[in-house]
Amino acid sequence: MNKKISIGIVDYGIGNHLSVSTALKRVGIKSFISSSIPELQSADILLLPGVGSFPIAMHNLNSSGLSSFLQDQASKDRSIIGICLGMQLLAESSWEVDHTNGLGIIPGTFISLPDNRWHIGWNSLDVLQQGNLLLDSDKQVVYFNHSFAYSGPEKYILINSYIGESNFRIPAAIGKGKVIGLQFHPEKSQAAGLNLLSNLLHHITL
């Protein structure tokens, strides 16, 4: 891979932007953090990180104009990657706190895990055939920290993970075209996560 790619990390007031940008630096990928639409337009790939609450995140995106910008970029086939809450924001809606509309880029919604559980810790990835960009990470163990999970058409699910004695399925990655969401934190999953992130970023624009 020869082309140097530039990642624009979308700053919407909450999220672990610094963790993501230092992780990218560790794998030799240049990035910048910005809330400025003109600046973000210059990036090869937009990255939407997120740690926090869905309603507050959407409020921030809407009030800053970043929602329309991201929706517009998705419609123009730009590469966008969402991480954790960032993945959830890509969907049509979430039921966290109250029903809140998301960016609507990937069909589906986010609903509470059964018994209001949380999915916290390291879990392994079961990469599906449609997740071909991520096949090298099949069976790798990565870090999750969330309590809402994707519910939507199967064709948008790229990777699954499983929890509990009943093997309850949790979509670990979703995607539509060049927009991909990762429910886990690759930037906090040591070598397994950084390798996945590097691989994905280098291939998503191809």
């Binding site: 909450i14 999220g15 672990n16 932007h17 610094l18 963790s19 230092t22 992780a23 630096k25 560790r26 794998v27 740690v51 926090g52 609450s53 309603p55 507050i56 809450l85 966290e96 706190v97 209001n116 949380w118 999915h119 916290i120 810790g121 390291w122 879990n123 392994s124 163990v141 870090y143 999750f144 920290n145 969330h146 309590s147 499983y162 929890i163 509990g164 093997n167 934190h185 930037e187 906090k188 999953s189 040591q190 070598a191 397994a192 996560g193 950084l194």
Partner: protein, 253 residues
């Protein structure tokens, strides 16, 4: 399947990493940044930083910023001095995955605001506990030394649903080999059915196995003993191969 975790823990007092002995004596270990770097390199499943002298003065933002600049690629939790949602937001924005709350636990308004800001998956309730002479589990306020039966604490924690995990700290056993008393868990079961993390006097593989085999226990936090030997995590995980743990993965990048 979801793995159980071995989390390396660094206690900081007056800006120095310390080895704690029963919450009353502290031996200096050195620069917390060095210890944290080591823990990541050795491949722990998580890193927790507990600043034990913050009181109401807020989190140690300068230290958290220094850690953020190191660029940790390991899940990182912080406790010490977090009193409101602004403190929580600052910590999370600087790369803290999960915050550990103690003094603010009984303040329902603050806990609710914190949950709205950072999400419940980011919140851990810290509960220093001890057994009394009648084998009853009591919460102990480490500032006032006041003891309260755990049943009463759980009832008062009406905002309990905001905490994704409970950190049970063995107040008496902390700092001593095999100090953590598993009865703190078995005797609390009817009052607290949330996932539990254990801390305080946990070091040997046998003791870790005993605790991690309990269904409710999702992780153990180890402080002092991990610093004695670089290959501690490797040897621990090798001895615990029959537990659902992440395979040993030293992290060099």
């Amino acid at each position: 399947m979801l793995k159980k975790r071995i989390i390396g823990t660094v206690l900081v007092k007056n800006g120095i990493a310390v080895q704690s002995l029963g919450y009353s004596r502290w031996l200096p270990l050195g620069d917390p940044l060095v210890l944290i770097q080591n823990l990541e390199r050795w491949g722990v499943d998580g890193i927790t930083l507990l600043c034990i002298d913050r009181g109401n003065s807020g989190p140690d933002i300068a230290l958290i910023k220094s850690i953020a600049q190191m660029g940790l690629s390991t899940p990182f939790s912080y406790g010490g001095g977090i009193c409101d949602h602004e403190h929580a937001r600052l910590c999370v924005n600087l790369g803290v995955e999960r915050i550990i709350l103690d003094r603010v636990l009984m303040n329902s308004y603050s806990v609710c605001k914190i949950a709205d800001t950072v999400g419940t998956q980011a919140m851990i309730a810290s509960l220093p506990l001890l057994l009394d002479s009648g084998n009853n589990v009591n919460h102990i306020n480490y500032v006032t030394r006041k003891k309260t039966p755990i049943a009463e604490i759980m009832q008062r924690l009406s905002n309990f649903r905001f905490f994704s995990e409970l950190l049970f700290i063995d107040y008496i056993g902390e700092g001593f080999s095999n100090g953590f008393d598993s009865r703190l868990i078995s005797l609390s079961k009817s009052f607290a059915d949330s996932p539990i993390l254990c801390f305080g006097g946990i070091s040997t593989a046998q003791h870790i196995k005993q605790l991690l085999e309990l269904p409710q226990v999702k992780a153990i936090l180890i402080g002092n003993s991990l610093n004695y030997r670089e290959s501690s995590i490797y040897h621990l995980k090798a001895s615990l191969a029959d537990l659902p743990l992440r395979p040993h993965s030293p992290f060099y990048l």
